[in-house]
């Protein structure tokens, strides 16, 4: 492993070859917005919020899957990037029924944080108001499709870390939905181990613990890192 030096937002940063632009930026204090990426899970480059400008590249590149290269010059914030990110978050708010005032993760929500960070104070797009239901058949947890942004963190954590692969995505496009097993109610799933990993990695209030009222749910952001460190290094440390 060799050390790589690159420039991110005018700041000289060092990383190790094989690391992604996203990780090196975060380790050097440059926070790039993201929704589908979460440390400890394989990256899919789907949310497009971490797109950055790289000198010499015509296209915008997703930081979460772009490996660092020696001498790379990266810009993570520009007017264009902010406009794109704001519109992407705006699209999410218009896509499903995100009502913060009645949500269990109000003030502890990654989508809400993104909107605040990007200065998104109103929605110009037409709300789609899809008719979606909440699955509360599980004993301890609930799934509210209205708040889902389809980042598939739950699908990946269940498959890659827990090894159960209870979650998957059904249908396509705007009709995509997270399903348990082959579309059964969550509570009747044969494969679910009720480990709750999916609930902790979910960026919004789509997956939540039962019995929590508005703003009461706090997701454990260090949870996944704790498990991955334990598994990879055998150290049970927080």
């Amino acid at each position: 492993m060799s050390v790589v030096t690159l420039e991110i937002d005018g700041k000289v940063c060092t990383g190790v070859s094989g690391e992604t632009v996203f990780d090196v930026a975060w380790n050097n204090g440059v926070k790039i917005p993201r929704l589908c990426h979460i440390g400890g899970l394989p990256n899919i480059g789907a949310c497009r919020l971490c797109l950055v400008e790289v000198e010499g590249q015509k296209k915008l590149l997703p930081a979460c899957i772009t490996p660092v290269q020696e001498g790379m010059v990266v810009r993570t914030w520009s007017e264009k990037l902010i406009a794109h990110r704001r519109l992407i978050v705006e699209l999410l708010f218009a896509e499903r029924n995100h009502v913060c005032s009645v949500c269990v993760v109000n003030r502890n929500c990654e989508l809400q944080d993104l909107a605040v960070e990007l200065g998104l104070d109103h929605i110009r797009l037409r709300y789609q108001f899809p008719k979606l239901v909440a699955d509360t058949s599980h004993e301890r947890f609930g799934l509210d499709h209205n708040r889902c942004v389809l980042c598939t963190r739950c699908v990946r954590v269940c498959d890659e870390v827990e090894g159960a692969h209870t979650w998957d995505v059904s249908r396509r496009g705007a009709l995509s939905q997270i399903i348990a097993d082959l579309g059964e109610p969550w509570g009747e799933s044969d494969t679910c181990t009720s480990c709750g990993k999916c609930v902790q990695v979910c960026p919004t209030g789509a997956l939540f613990e039962k019995g929590k009222a508005v703003s009461e749910m706090r997701k454990d952001r260090g949870f996944l890192k704790y498990i991955v460190t334990a598994r990879e290094k055998g150290q049970w440390i927080r």
Partner: protein, 547 residues
């Protein structure tokens, strides 16, 4: 079979066919089948028996003869003539005295025929897709023989590079370069994949090639496999193409039986198997990484590139993916050499291109023209122009990823660069003609609806952006949109183009962008005056629009 046997069989079959008094070719491509050509073929067969001409006269089914609008089409070898609009009652005449059918005879010296140049479709309408001997008689599998015995893998690759052939799937990546990338990869396990997931609305080029000349595609794939060092191939064909699937299955079986596929091909050490994978109706599976995921049995969703399939494709192994038409170009290219191929076309776009003419045009059907042919020649000389006395308005190429070309650019030569310059793309070959009764806002809405329905839902800009764009366009056609919506629409166009994960999302705004570029006043009329100049959109308080 060995190479000598291949040539012997060819000579024998040609002799047999030449000895016939009359060989009747009945088009059994999907277009003619749908207007009753199977019944015609059966009737001709019975007529041959009842007239006692078995062994002297023969009937065979063939692939697309091109002029689909005049189907069912029948060609007779006795007087070397083409007949259109044939029905069962003509069977007797076709068998013994085709010259009496003069009124049905189609003038093959018309511009529709003489302005075309057939390389890909060379065999279409001339060989029976269900008989391997027909293909062999037409010189089939000799290119594979030449590659295996004369050229070797490096020599084959050189010919393809020399030819300047570019991918016919739409993006136009140089085929030789792609092959070389795969050939250079280390490792024993490599794959060759044929993308037959043709999905653009109005496009039927690949279907016609698969239905009309399946062995050509198999031979092209085998040559590719030989050049890059692959032993396994897959054809990913969309499930809707039942006839193409059936003929491909038959062709694979026949080729394996003749040892032209499978182990010890042409008695050499080269082995190559081909299997079919049937798509389940997702347009996005035509995107190469989604296609590979689908072959592997996973959800058909694109993944970010790099790594590109030549480095890490099917099951992480180097994989060559080419379109049907690209593979169909390979056998004649290898047979006649790269220089021969490069003699057709323009400086940067070589060879010919197959187009499916559809929409408001007299001669709907399948055509093949040299690259660089002006659009006007394709639409007016070959296509016969716009019927019904209406005016030509625009031509749409490239399907939902392409753009609309207005009348002022009719003299643009059709090649990759020229089309890109005027805001469209070559695409896979769909060519839809619109006349003055077509509303461009509605056209844009149609394609956006298509993209919205076909978005896989993985990345946010495409999944949610196409919904919003369609919403705005739909309101425009109802006279309910404002100029603010117009501004948002343009913002979304930029967002999708710059941030979507795969080509489907990145190019989804193209129909909107190109119609905005050339027909902006039409959009403004919908918004400001609640009026549809084409009289197509029904507006509130202004029913039926106004002409």
């Amino acid at each position: 079979m060995t190479v000598e046997e291949l040539f012997d069989q060819q000579a024998a079959e040609v002799e047999r066919q030449n000895a016939l008094e009359n060989r009747i070719y009945c088009c059994t491509a999907a277009g003619c089948v749908s207007c009753g050509s199977e019944a015609v073929r059966k009737a001709i067969g019975e007529e041959i028996k009842s007239q006692g001409l078995t062994g002297k006269v023969e009937v065979c089914g063939t692939g697309c003869m091109g002029l689909c609008s005049k189907g069912p089409l029948v060609r007779t070898s006795k007087d070397d003539a083409l007949y259109g609009g044939v029905d069962v009652s003509n069977a007797a005449a076709l068998v013994s005295a085709p010259e009496t059918l003069a009124p049905l005879r189609i003038d093959t010296s018309a511009p529709f025929f003489i302005k075309q140049k057939k390389i890909v479709l060379g065999n279409s309408g001339r060989v029976d897709p269900e008989k391997i001997m027909d293909y062999i008689a037409a010189g089939g599998y000799q290119a594979l023989a030449r590659a295996c015995t004369e050229l070797g893998p490096a020599g084959t690759l050189d010919e393809v590079k020399k030819s300047g052939l570019r991918g016919r799937g739409g993006a136009g990546y140089p085929t030789g370069l792609k092959w070389e990338l795969v050939a250079r990869q280390p490792g024993d396990v490599k794959y060759v994949v044929c993308n037959a997931d043709e999905g653009d609305p109005g496009a039927f080029m690949d279907r016609s090639v698969l239905e009309g000349d399946p062995h050509r595609v198999l031979e092209g794939m085998a040559i590719a496999a030989y050049a890059v060092g692959a032993q396994q191939g897959y054809i990913y064909v969309r499930g809707e193409y039942a006839l193409a699937i059936q003929r491909l299955q038959l062709a694979i079986r026949q080729a394996e039986r003749e040892r032209l596929l499978g182990n010890r091909i042409l008695d050499s050490a080269f082995q190559f198997r081909v299997d079919l994978r049937i798509g389940a109706g997702a347009f996005v599976c035509g995107e190469e990484t989604a296609l590979l995921a689908s072959i592997e049995g996973r959800r058909g969703q694109p993944r970010p590139r790099p790594p590109y399939p030549p480095e890490a494709g099917l099951w992480g192994k180097p994989t060559l993916i080419n379109n049907v038409e690209t593979f169909a170009n390979i056998p004649p290219l290898i047979q006649n050499g790269g220089e021969w191929f490069a003699s057709t076309g323009t400086a940067t776009s070589k060879g010919t291109k197959v187009f499916a003419l559809a929409g408001k045009i007299a001669n709907t059907g399948l055509i093949e023209v040299p690259m660089g042919t002006p659009l006007r020649e394709i639409l007016f000389d070959i296509g016969g122009g716009v019927p019904g006395g209406l005016e030509f308005k625009a031509a749409q190429t490239g399907g939902p990823s392409g753009g609309c070309i207005p009348a002022e650019f009719l003299d643009t030569p059709v090649d990759y660069e020229s089309l890109a310059r005027i805001g469209s793309i070559m695409g896979s070959g769909g060519l839809i003609v619109m006349d003055s009764s077509s509303c461009m806002v509605d056209v844009a809405r149609f394609f956006m609806e298509f993209c919205m329905d076909e978005s896989c839902g993985k990345c946010i800009p495409c999944r949610a952006g196409t919904v919003q764009m369609h919403d705005i366009l739909l309101r425009m056609t109802k006279g309910e949109a404002s100029s603010r919506d117009m501004a948002i629409l343009e913002e979304l166009c930029t967002l999708l183009r710059e941030t979507s994960l795969c080509g489907l999302g990145q190019t989804a705004p193209n129909p909107v962008v190109s119609t905005l570029r050339y027909f902006r006043p039409e959009y403004e009329m919908h918004i400001r005056d609640h009026r549809c100049p084409a009289g197509l959109c029904e507006m509130k308080g202004n029913e039926g629009g106004a002409r």
